[in-house]
């Protein structure tokens, strides 16, 4: 990519006293993209966002915005704007005064006609035309969210930063806002950087997902890449639902490894990372890659314990002797009464290439929540 990245991290480390929140991150965020920083709380994603905004200074390394090193540049001189988690609208100003706040700081001064017409456009853009004279406390959470968005976007920033902007909204509103944010990003064409701990939100909204854990970037890629080809066990487990089975490497051939599961079954899995014979591994199997059929064929046998019918799909919890409970997800086709009942024995099959083998036993390196960080970063 020849274009200058909108945001670039070069070996950025951030320490708070003895705690390292971000360690040695290199990251280039391509221009005009919707990027999500995804990770559990305390993974350093908010710290990264705050370093872009200028609210935190890196302990080491550089943060560049459109190729310019931002060291020593205060937030009010950076060409980025932020939508805060709790919106941080100014309670003593009305909606229009909030939105025009940034425009009023411009030097040379903008004419008041310019300011009010741009504020009006911004209000219309977030579908709040006519709300200019309302007080902040008179607005609903969703409306406050839109005001916060308009207040940031009206300044035409190079990059819009969003700190868990949808966390405070209820589910229905959240889905609406996800679509609206996507549309806005395409319309305006600037880079959006979204911080979220909600993997579903990250996958559904963004062009690129940057998965972080323990202060490092674990994987940067398109949502489908992250989901289909997770870089490590943490990503496989954190992004989407998956079944993790422990086993030992029984044989190796090229990209594939034969893994002996706990019950003795040997399955062929794609290698993710270097493996050696006899090594303990974890095999990831997405629920939707499992296919259920009547007993007789398939690689594993089990008994249906629970069925969760969701309309277009049905999820099954299946007890497999010696391995434990597996989650399977099957499409449901109307009129094709292919639902398995609890207590029914089933055979479980999967497409070749679906199982992924990661080095290391499960529960090691997955979901490392560092609560000491969470406190600082919240």
């Amino acid at each position: 990519m020849t274009a200058v990245p909108d945001i670039e991290f070069r070996a950025v480390t951030k320490r708070y006293g003895a705690v390292t929140a971000v360690s040695g991150i290199d990251l280039a965020i391509p221009p005009s993209a919707f990027v999500a920083l995804l990770g559990p709380s305390g993974c350093g994603k908010t710290t990264c966002l705050r370093m872009i905004g200028g609210f935190e200074q890196p302990s080491e390394g550089q943060v560049l915005i459109r190729g310019r090193d931002m060291a020593g540049t205060p937030p009010y001189r950076r060409p980025v704007n932020m939508v805060f988690q709790q919106y941080a609208l100014f309670p003593h100003l009305d909606v229009e005064e909030n939105i025009s706040y940034g425009l009023r700081q411009a030097r040379p001064r903008l004419s008041s006609r310019d300011i009010s017409s741009r504020a009006g456009e911004a209000l219309a853009m977030v579908q709040l035309a006519g709300y200019g004279r309302r007080k902040i406390h008179e607005l609903s959470g969703g409306q406050q969210q839109r005001v916060a968005l308009a207040r940031a976007l009206v300044n035409k920033p190079a990059v819009l930063l969003l700190d868990e902007p949808l966390a405070a909204l209820d589910k229905k509103l959240r889905t609406d806002m996800q679509i609206e944010l996507q549309n806005l990003q395409r319309e305006i064409g600037i880079t959006f950087v979204l911080v979220t701990h909600d993997q579903e939100e990250a996958l559904s909204m963004s062009d690129f997902v940057c998965v972080m854990n323990g202060g490092r970037v674990v994987q940067l890629g398109q949502p489908s890449e992250i989901y289909d080809e997770p870089a490590d066990l943490f990503v496989a487990d954190f992004v989407g639902k998956t079944n993790l089975l422990s086993g030992k490497v029984a044989g190796l051939s090229g990209d594939l490894a034969d893994v002996a599961l706990a019950d003795g079954t040997v399955i062929s899995a794609r290698k993710r990372g270097p493996l050696s014979r006899g090594e303990a591994v974890s095999v990831s199997l997405r629920p939707e890659s499992l296919s259920l059929s009547a007993p007789g064929n398939g690689s594993l046998k089990g008994i249906v314990r629970n069925r969760i019918f969701l309309g277009s799909t049905a999820e099954y919890a299946i007890e497999v002797q010696g391995i434990g409970s597996l989650l399977a997800k099957a499409d449901h086709v109307i009129g094709q009464g292919n639902l398995f009942k609890p207590g029914e024995p089933v055979a479980i099959g999967f497409a070749a290439g679906a199982p992924l083998a990661f080095p290391g036993p499960k529960n090691n390196g997955t979901n490392q929540r560092e609560d000491q960080h969470a406190e600082i970063l919240s």
């Binding site: 905004g53 200028g54 609210f55 205060p74 937030p75 009010y76 001189r77 980025v80 704007n81 932020m82 805060f84 988690q85 709790q86 941080a88 609208l89 100014f90 309670p91 003593h92 706040y101 940034g102 700081q105 411009a106 902040i136 406390h137 207040r151 940031a152 300044n155």
Partner: protein, 270 residues
Amino acid sequence: MRAFVFAAFAFLYLPIALVVLFSFNAGHHASEFTGFSVQWYGKALSNPFLVEALKNSLFIATTSALLAAFCGTAAALGLQRVGARTRALFDALLGAAIVVPGVVIGISTLVALVQLFAVLNPFLASLWPTDQPPRLSLGYGSIIAAHGLFSMALVTMIVGTRLGSLDRNLVEASSDLYATPLTTFRSIVLPQIMPAVIAGFLLAFTFSFDDFIIAFFVAGAQTTLPIYVFASIRRGVTPEINAIATIVLCASVLLVLLAQWQLGRRKPSS
């Protein structure tokens, strides 16, 4: 229990009610009510000594409250930026300043001022070109200083509390929206803490206006309203005193209510 509470409140407020009642007494004695009249209010307000004392009190209260509001707010803002330990130390000292009895503040301020003047006056005299150097002495200045210092602790606490509940994100949001620190202070922080500053000013004013103990120690030859009232009681309690007391009472209650209202306004959003 109910009767006990009733008795306690009666004990507290009955004397005050009596003072108000007797201020409307037509007779000359503060002990028997002989008819309704507002003549004592007229008498009080046409008494030149009393009016002088009232003017003094108003001047001292206004000046010391302004001083306290300004310095107290500055102190509260400064305390935001110090370390946790220094902060705790200052909070403790502020609390102590408010708890220390008026007598102690009065006498210690008096001793300190007298010592200070004893050092400064010869020094000033040696510097002054003419034979009549200015002499520092007790008076307006010392009352204002003593009241201002005490009220400053009050204002620092009130404004500090408000600052503590101020959403830090608001300051960051302002900074994110291109406002320099000075603009942020003017357009965001100051409007948010203004009710607390005004409340602090009003309480400081009320305190200074009502204070007898500290003023009595450091007033020198000056007379404030409470000192005047105290001095007149020696000549017997007349309904005139009751009238003054009623005026002061009404003014104080009004100011405190105003302060409460200010503090309740525009609670910072969280």
